[in-house]
């Protein structure tokens, strides 16, 4: 028994070929298997929203608004990853200065 959203997508009339149905299905199923937890969570949400849309529990406008939310959350998560990389670099630079340059090299001179 396929998920309601898959039946909903398959039954959509698309004579002009606007939507690549398989592409959408692959996007969701690939994202559900992504290595990143954040991506998997967002894919689960997209799947849930599509099911809610298929079952008439939410409107097209509400669905559209969720997609904007997910796009914004993804950008926020990218910013979080940038901060994580910068914080690691800052720790490394501080460590090199405090431990290696200030202490280790002084010790090596002392040994000479």
């Amino acid at each position: 028994m396929p998920e309601p959203w898959i039946t909903f997508i398959d039954e959509l009339k698309d004579e002009a070929g606007i939507l690549a149905k398989n592409e959408l299905k692959n996007l969701v199923s690939d994202s559900l298997k992504d290595a990143e937890e954040f991506t998997r969570n967002q894919a689960q949400k997209v799947q849930r929203y599509l099911n809610q849309l298929a079952l008439g529990k939410i409107t097209k406008k509400q669905f559209e608004s969720y997609m904007v939310d997910i796009a914004e959350l993804t950008r926020m998560n990218a910013l979080k990853m940038e901060v994580a990389a910068k914080a690691r670099a800052q720790r490394l630079a501080d460590g090199i200065q405090n431990i290696i340059l200030d202490r280790l090299l002084k010790l090596i001179v002392y040994l000479d």
Partner: protein, 158 residues
Amino acid sequence: MTTYRVSEAQALFDMISTYCLRFVVVAMLFVCSCSLIREGITYYDPTTYKNLTDLKPEVMMIYESFGSDNIDSLPTADWVRSIRLRLAQMYEYERGKGPKNKETIEQIDKIRKMFDRHLEERLKEGKWNEEHLLNKQENISEAFDIAIQTERLKNRNE
């Protein structure tokens, strides 16, 4: 005798190359990390953390009222105004820290705009049903969580 001298020179050469290699690796790590933090990053700020963790549950609560109350009349209208003011104050506080804080500035701006967009939708489309309320609460809550986690990732200025 000659063999001994050659192996001694070889050992000396190996020792020098090992030290040079170590120095080069350390220098490269230093240069890489310096280039990553050239733009800089602010340290962890307990005020930012408190502002975010205080406001998040309040926003969650006001979203619950979006399913029932009239938000364009008192007292909810006042509550909405007070939250919008606090979000604006938070944004100005973060902006005041300068360009080194650009990630957090953008995150707070996104939370503020998400709240305003949700509010506008609520005013236009009327009361939220249960599914919509839970979906919207989940997304705004996640936005706050990402900003809170980001602040916690920053190093402490010790």
